[in-house]
Symmetry: D2
Subunit: 293 residues, 4 copies
């Protein structure tokens, strides 16, 4: 009788092949990653905000001002964009990085921006304070290694159908290069409901915190693809234990060349920041209790 | 050139076939469902707790006492259990309903319990204060109609691969019988990560609140299948706007005949209740702001 | 170090709770289910065809004639329809069963038709030669038991997010009532591609044949929801080892009240039958070789 | 009343951003891709076989001999391996390419092997007759462009959660570099059944043939991860209209360093080739009829 035909999942870590450096060793272990004044892994959530893509000087400077006013600690913005179609806007490239640097000089906000290929790492690292590896590149192992070698902190997004353990394995590629500064970012998984672009998987937050000591943040903009859900899911992410948020904000979203449907306004960003901190504060003592569980 | 080959999704509502009674008509519309002292839809979250299955008199009375002490407002417990295997424990049947009624008499807690088939509705309705229609029966339309006709409030769980609009359509079957007292319950969807039994989909909470006026609660016990995630995801559900929670608690979970792996202890339930209310209180003014968005 | 955190899947069969009667006991074991002249489980594939729903006398008689001309062995047609919306056409009920019986009398084709609730089993069984339990009811255990008790052969469709082992467990509910005549039907699972209504999972065919001795057929109409794929996937299903096919055909599909988008024409049905048999014949010796593997 | 809340899917092609060069222009359009004696897109299916990874000289030469004896037309084997864990065997690198070249010299079989990063393209192109872009790199757009510029034919695997249209968009990146020689390869999608590593999606075959003129083949080894399903699903793929197959075969699978669980033996490969051709022959006239549909 065939009662035990379920095989071990092939992608599950096995003895000798599991994540090691990414694995939690003790209940209290926590990695902190410092970028500018922000500290990922601490009790106060870090807020990253900015437009999907750098489009013009006016846009990025206006966005940076709004990000600073809202109290966010890092500016995001893409200069190299991974686009499903080769005919879509692909980003401004190095000119975009220069605009981001100008925005940093003006606001004091450190920059996180995406790097798409191994050869680009030195160029992007010359401008950025933190490198972003996007969901489509979570298993681009050459890029992970090169990002690890850069010495910069790395924001590693979850692949859109990656299991949590595959994601931790991807982090392991960076850590194994001697770079301990990895921040994970949940950004939605593929699922079946046509009302959402992706299904933000908040279960990943407590799961990562149980299995790993790395900080984890959440991107509710890509994670839902639906502007009306961004604020609520951002707050829920904080309640789920996220160490921070990454949010798409556009000073004039109707003019956005990319992802305008999921961008929020500067005013909504400020409100989101207030609410996220209120929930974080309310949970501070509870978090201690939960940690002791 | 084939640029528009994406057909309309067949299950999406079309003109003349959409949910009507379940659809939100105005930004402020909210249905309230009263069961005992609990009010689903109000700002204070409702907490339902109890064992997966009624097993023994001692177990259900001990559970009911713990539920009351923790401040929960309804007692849950299954007398008729839908089990994947015909050889698993199927519940105590009417004897289980009698034990639940005894627990109600002792604690004053109203009862919510599952009904599995149309013919069972009168029997279960004779004991219960609220009928539960489970995930496996979300599209059991005869059961939905009969539950609607019972006049009792109905807790309608989401099918494990139902879209949000299919779920609202299932609610429409109950509402169309003249029964306005429907409470929706998100309980996890099927996905690919082997670390979780189901993937709790908190996106459904703001999505339901956007599309419908019906109250929505969340079951983090079935929704994750992993005890270590229950408390955190319960709190995140409240932050996502859930009107309540449904949690499996067992006074002696190692002895549980069903779902022991996801049941929490009485002490954890009390802590969960405290934290959920702290977050709810912190969000109360923000919720008003969000509603005005 | 956390290398073995993957828990046993909760829904996987465990010792004492697994499928027994549905489990393959030896490499050569094969159950045969006879309905009229058709034999499910034999080397010649069985073809079931007909409209989604019985709509009018003219429609069902024309459909039955076309089904017979195409060489199909059973007539399908729904008198009781499970519809996502309570406002959609719900079927003709017993009047529909009477029309199906008239079509049987005229063509000699045995009938398979869906039963939606336990109480309906005697009524439907009075007309049908084979009872269909649909995907939405795969875990409607009361219905499975009652269908088992009817003594009629049962066509059990896979739930749209059921694992293969959960499906075999559902078959076990019927078998445990002393009814050995169960035929499984793969009909598509929920997945993420918006071009398809469902994703027909042909992997289920060899998987069921490996784990069980029950016959398995495939429904490419519901399984894809896209007419242009029906013929090709029907033939692929036969190549995957399916013991038969269930196909929606409508004599005038533009007038169909239900699922017209996935119905094929009588001419296409005849072509599908020819091609399916050609592949089945080509594989006959190979199938013997594969069985001996 | 909220009947039209389903937004356009964001990743669906829109006017001006859709695949153009990959799109079918007429019912009879078909691209042929020639590699050695093999012609992808023709009526006779092309068989690619070989080990997952090049491990030793003896292994790769024995494998190549078996591939030739079985009648396959291309040798596959990985010298650069994308591995979930940084601690797993990563491939022999250029030494592996040299062993593959020796196997080609001995057997006359052209080589297809994977390239993992843009910078590797010239090195791999110096040895290979066809470049493989793997599932994890389907949206590695820099790699797609560089592979397109190489002038070599490209085998483009589907991402494990890519929609068919996203996959065609990835092909568009290669075609837009002036390289028309793209062959698509379905290799399984992420789904929920724990019995399978991936869910081979044969629906993609007729869907690609409907939307595009590019040849499409199927990899049932990675696509199921379960050796017992490989032969059957290979044959079903041919029946679904695949222009070829890619199969993992190891001369001594118990010694395999990678994917031994899904590799078949040389004898099984020969049997698979015989059966696939028998089905292809049986369908030849039917395919013409279907094409005329």
């Amino acid at each position: 009788m065939s009662t035990s035909c379920t095989p071990e999942r092939h992608d599950a870590p096995r003895a000798g092949h599991a994540y090691r450096l990414a694995a939690r060793q003790s209940p209290s272990q926590q990695t902190f990653v410092k970028v500018g004044d922000a500290m990922f892994g601490a009790s106060r959530p870090v807020l990253i905000a900015g437009p999907c893509a750098v489009e013009t000087r006016d846009q990025v400077l206006a966005a940076a001002d709004a990000v600073r006013v809202a109290g966010a600690q890092l500016l995001r913005g893409g200069a190299f964009k991974p686009r499903t179609s080769p005919y879509s806007f692909q980003g401004l490239g190095e000119a975009g990085l220069q605009l981001l640097a100008e925005a940093r000089a003006r606001t004091g906000l450190p920059l996180v921006t995406e790097v798409l290929e191994p050869e680009q790492v030195p160029l992007v690292a010359a401008y950025a304070d933190m490198l972003q590896v996007g969901a489509r590149n979570m298993a681009n192992f050459a890029l992970l290694r090169r990002a690890g070698q850069s010495g910069l902190p790395v924001l590693l997004k979850r692949g859109m159908s990656a299991t949590v353990e595959e994601w931790l394995m991807a982090a392991e590629y960076i850590l194994a290069e001697g770079n301990p500064n990895v921040v994970l970012c949940e950004r939605g998984i593929r699922s079946f409901d046509p009302l959402l672009r992706f299904t933000l998987d908040l279960n990943a937050v407590p799961l990562v915190r149980e299995l790993s000591h790395l900080p984890i943040i959440v991107d509710p903009s890509h994670g839902t693809g639906r502007r009306s859900l961004v604020q609520t899911m951002a707050v829920a992410a904080i309640a789920a234990g996220a160490h921070g948020l990454m949010v798409e904000m556009h000073p004039d979203r109707r003019a956005a060349l990319c992802d305008g449907d999921q961008s929020i306004t500067p005013e909504q960003l400020a409100e989101l920041a207030r609410t996220a901190h209120a929930v974080s504060d309310a949970l501070a003592p509870a978090a201690l209790d939960l940690a002791a569980d």
